[in-house]
């Protein structure tokens, strides 16, 4: 009994920091619709600022004052980010801002390294709260009790702010219908900035308040972000109470998971999230999503069309140049282009389901990884000929996508995205933990292509053929009757259904198709590298693809390919520099601000303006 109570108390104490960070993210999302990947970075800044302040300000007052000051300072940093980076791109397509926040992550990572150095910082203990209290014979740290006591106050303060003040009324109104709020004369820009301040300050507080239980290090930004997303989704996007209940739920369950199922530490919260979303598709306290359900914000989309003569000619030229690369390029340039091509195919498969199908997947890497792992497992355990393994990889990836899709397509919008994330995380933890079969983190090595493909040049042509075929195939599907049906389900599910389209099935097939193509990319990858590791299906891999699709232009056909080429190419060059992440982050932010429709979308607009686009139209 004593242990049980102590375990619950541990869970409640753990929930404190998680709740602070998650409620901030939830508020920001609710009002601004921004999925703020950089929220973990704000949490990290809170921890570093807190450690620095606590070293300077001694005693009780210094300790608690430092925590409050950290919140304030990080809130102001959030304001700077909002004004400089996000404000210019509010009019961009939905979710585009997440690319900008990704740039912010990179910038903050390098700045934190510059300012605070590489060594981990241990957080100071809270003065006067360093020992334990015996509850039913079990030791419970005093600081845990302090955290448990503080959290309800913060929850109450937020509740009061949101339900009892004018600001709160505006925030709630904006969460429900921000256009209406704007129409009623509220200055949205400052409302957004204010909410961003509040959300960032909460993240900063969270970072500072956890210091006595941990410290500050350079990996904590990415380490917390997935847990925070899970909490926000379980609680319901935009709901503070939901975030509170969800962080308690996750933290307490985690404590019992550790005690009774120690191997579960990686996957437990994703299982919980998947279950909650399957039962309550909008989280515990979430409302059905309004935005983007019928019609879209911003200017109307330009319908995608097959390339005209000029486009085809240019593509032909590009292919010719690529085909001639082995003649004039070095062996390394082929290796580099293989990498870029594979990434292009992966991005194109995500773009297919995202732009054409309107289904934003946050877990697309699971199919890429599935392709790679199926091929690698077949080679390792069944001595399958490479050609057969290569063929079976996309089929298996497609089948897995069928299963995952069956669960996911019941949801839409961000909830769909989060459920795909949950499934990809399940897949990742499966390969990560199943040591005997997948080799766990040490992966599968010595997966090489057959002799006739073992040369760099022959594998280069192999990759070129399959990537070109895959991308052309996807483009072809977009313009086929199935593609039209898929586009109809994206633009208006209701109207599509009224015209006799089986919306679910069309989306389902589209999802599986995208998964299968991602599997091709994965199989190409594994044979080019000779090894595969779980990080090929990690969240960050999914986000890489997501970012290039948005960066290239989500409302275009070639955005993913162009974005992937741009990002891979630039990274290969920048990574040679000392502070490459800083430069890369700034570059991404610049591109986002200059080209809010993505690279291709913006180029097309420019071309239209100077008359190039119309010419092409006339020539058709």
């Amino acid at each position: 009994m004593g242990l049980f109570v102590a375990q619950i108390l541990t869970g409640l104490a753990n929930a404190a920091a998680l709740f602070l960070v998650a409620s901030g993210l939830s508020l920001i999302f609710g009002v601004t619709r921004i999925v703020n990947f950089a929220h973990g970075s704000l949490y990290m800044l809170g921890a570093y600022v807190g450690v620095t302040l606590m070293a300077a300000l001694p005693g009780h007052f210094g300790f608690w004052g430092s925590i409050l000051l950290s919140g304030l300072i990080v809130g102001l940093i959030g304001v700077v980010i909002e004004i400089c980076v996000l404000r210019p791109v509010y009019r961009a397509p939905e979710l585009f801002q997440l690319v900008a926040t990704f740039g912010v992550i990179l910038v903050i990572q390098d700045l934190a390294l510059m300012v605070w150095g590489a060594e981990d910082r241990l957080g100071p203990r809270a003065p006067g709260l360093t020992s334990v209290v015996r509850i039913l014979g079990e030791p419970v740290p005093q600081y845990d009790l302090a955290l448990i006591a503080i959290t309800p106050f913060i929850l109450f303060a937020l509740w009061w702010l949101i339900t009892r003040t004018r600001i709160g009324i505006l925030v709630r109104a904006a969460t429900q219908d921000r256009e209406m709020v704007g129409a009623l004369g509220v200055n949205q820009a400052w409302l957004f900035t204010g909410v961003f301040f509040l959300g960032s300050a909460l993240a900063g507080l969270g970072g500072a308040i956890q210091l006595p239980k941990g410290g500050a290090d350079l990996l904590m930004d990415l380490n917390i972000i997935s847990a925070v997303f899970v909490v926000v989704v379980i609680g319901g996007m935009g709901s503070v109470t939901g975030a509170f209940l969800a962080s308690v739920l996750i933290s307490v369950l985690n404590v019992f998971g550790v005690a009774y199922l120690p191997q579960s530490t990686l996957v437990l919260m994703y299982v919980v999230m998947a279950i909650v979303l399957l039962i309550r598709p909008y989280g515990l306290f979430g409302r059905e999503e309004k935005a983007g359900e019928h019609g879209q914000v911003g200017e109307p989309d330009r319908p995608v069309r097959p390339f005209g003569t000029l486009g085809r000619a240019l593509t032909g030229l590009l292919l010719l140049a690529l085909a001639l690369l082995p003649v004039f390029g070095s062996s390394f340039s082929q290796v580099l282009v293989i990498d870029i091509l594979i990434f292009c195919l992966f991005a194109a498969s995500l773009q297919f389901i995202l732009s054409t199908g309107g289904l934003v997947s946050f877990g697309h890497a699971v199919f890429y990884g599935a392709g790679a792992y199926v091929a690698a497992l077949l080679i390792t355990y069944a001595d399958t000929p490479m050609e057969v393994a290569f063929l079976l990889a996309p089929i298996s990836a497609g089948l897995i996508a069928l299963v995952v899709g069956w669960f996911c397509i019941r949801l839409s919008g961000v909830y769909f995205a989060m459920l795909t994330l949950a499934f990809s995380q399940l897949g990742w933890s499966l390969v990560f933990q199943w040591n005997e079969v997948t080799g766990g983190d040490d992966g599968l090595v010595n997966i090489w292509p057959s002799a006739w493909l073992s040369g760099t040049t022959s594998y280069y042509y192999f990759t070129l053929v399959f990537v070109t075929a895959g991308i052309l195939f996807l483009r072809h599907v977009v313009h086929s009757p199935f593609g039209y049906a898929l586009r109809a389900t994206r633009d208006s599910a209701r109207q599509a259904e009224a015209t006799g389209i089986d919306v679910r099935r069309v989306q389902w097939i589209g999802f599986a198709l995208a998964g299968a193509i991602a599997g091709v990319a994965g199989a190409l990858f594994v044979f080019s590298k000779g090894s595969v590791f779980p990080n090929e299906m990690q969240i960050s891999k999914s986000f890489d693809a997501l970012i290039v699709v948005f960066l290239g232009g989500v409302k275009t056909l070639s955005g993913g390919v162009v974005g992937a080429t741009f990002l891979e190419g630039v990274k290969d060059w920048l990574i040679r520099l000392e502070y490459w992440r800083l430069i890369m982050g700034l570059l991404i932010i610049c591109v986002v601000i200059i080209a809010p429709d993505g690279i291709v979308g913006t180029l097309r607009k420019v071309a239209d303006r100077i008359g190039l686009g119309r010419q092409e139209e006339a020539s058709r």
Partner: protein, 400 residues
């Protein structure tokens, strides 16, 4: 898109051309690491390399030519590391590859090196598979193997009357291997031991309070710890606060390495039996010389385990090329067989048997002195007696 690719290619070509022109006659080594992703570990390692390079080149270089390292960041991604390996070998003209801390990146480079016939000296990765289960003729490893360090701790554990053991290790390949090695060695030495619980926190995401409660609930006599970095900090703090370590011996794999002990400051646990690197305890000999010259070269810095590994990496490569008398791969491969050199940690041999170096380990007990965690009563352990037998190793290594 096309023009972009050409631009990038042109920029890359320009960049590598200019570096090539600068040091035309230097012998170049490709060093791949996670300088940003694992900055806390990679920075001391890089400093160790820089110090050794300065010394080697001041003494006239190798084969009369200066030795040069090309440092490349792989962002901690195995796929990127493989690409960089290819670029270093084919475009930058490096003689061989070295580097990496993360096991999976090391394994990826090793597999690629084996396929392409490039020599790879895995300096820091902890996975024993590099030289054993996934070993190949082109891969060599410097750092003391995880198996040996676990066996050294198990030998100490077997001397006590503790029977009930609990383990805590990060939930990934290194953690599982480290626990398996400890269990195997300890059970062999003392069959009556019992492992009452195994805890597997996610790497760098430990829920320390819950882990400590779970360990406490199993009432072990002793605890075997493999967590490191921020996980270790949280574990130690919760464990100390909640009294988990009172009356129990804790065995800490790598816990004594300055990388992990230093951030704990005065809160470092006392009385743990650990492997590590007690640089502050050296009074004479080559060990001390290294520490002094490191601190002279980088004022305000103290050596870490990464520093000494980086230093010995350069020493190994310099000795290798001198012995081979050439920078051609076949000559280097031949010279690597039982290559012996003197290092700050004594004589080290790259065994022809499994390509593993005989770099040893320091065993000691943790204590707090002047507000710093240190290792006391330490001794140096030769790894050879703790290695699996030659037959066992031959059985593990893939037939060639």
């Amino acid at each position: 898109m096309k023009s972009l690719k050409t631009w990038t290619a042109a920029a890359v070509a320009l960049l590598s051309a200019s570096t090539a022109a600068l040091a035309a006659d230097a012998i170049k080594i490709g060093e791949i690491n996670h300088y940003k992703r694992m900055a806390a570990f990679a920075e001391p390692y890089k400093k160790g390399i820089e110090l050794a390079l300065k010394e080697v080149n001041a003494a006239g270089g190798v084969l009369g030519r200066p030795l040069e390292f090309i440092f490349r960041d792989d962002d901690g991604k195995p796929g990127d590391a493989v690409k960089i390996a290819e670029e270093l070998m084919t475009r930058d003209g490096v003689v061989m590859l070295t580097g990496t801390i993360l096991s999976n990146v090391g394994l990826a480079i090793s597999s690629y090196a084996g396929e392409k016939g490039y020599i790879y000296l895995a300096s820091e990765p902890l996975a024993d598979d590099l030289v054993w289960k996934s070993g190949n003729p082109y891969t060599f490893r410097l750092r003391t193997s995880t198996y040996v360090q676990a066996a050294i701790l198990a030998e100490q554990a077997a001397k006590t009357d503790a029977i009930r053991y609990a383990t805590i290790a990060p939930n990934y390949a290194y953690g599982t291997a480290a626990v398996a090695a400890f269990k195997e060695s300890l059970t062999r030495l003392k069959p009556e031991v019992e492992f009452v619980t195994e805890q597997w926190p996610a790497l760098f995401k430990i829920d320390a309070g819950a882990e400590v409660q779970a360990l406490e609930a199993s009432k072990p006599d002793a605890i075997y710890n493999v967590t490191f970095g921020t996980d270790l900090q949280k574990f130690v703090r919760e464990g100390t606060t909640r009294g988990l370590f009172e009356g129990r011996t804790v065995y800490g794999l790598l816990t004594g390495e300055p990388e992990y002990l230093e951030p704990l400051g005065a809160e470092a646990p006392e009385g743990w039996i650990v492997t590590g690197y007690p640089w502050y305890g050296f009074t004479s000999g080559p060990e001390k010389v290294f520490v002094d010259s490191y601190m002279a070269a980088f004022p305000g810095e103290t050596p870490k385990i990464g520093s000494i590994v980086g230093y010995m990496t350069v020493q190994s490569i310099a000795a290798l090329i001198e012995k081979a008398g050439s920078t051609e791969t076949p000559a280097l491969l031949e010279a690597f067989k039982d290559l012996t050199l003197d290092t700050p940690m004594g004589e080290v041999t790259y065994r022809a048997l499994d390509h593993q170096s005989t770099m040893g380990a320091y065993l000691g007990v943790t204590a707090v002195q002047d507000g710093q965690g240190v290792m006391v009563d330490w001794s140096f352990k030769d790894p050879t007696p703790y290695m699996p037998s030659e037959d066992e190793i031959r059985a593990m290594r893939p037939a060639k």
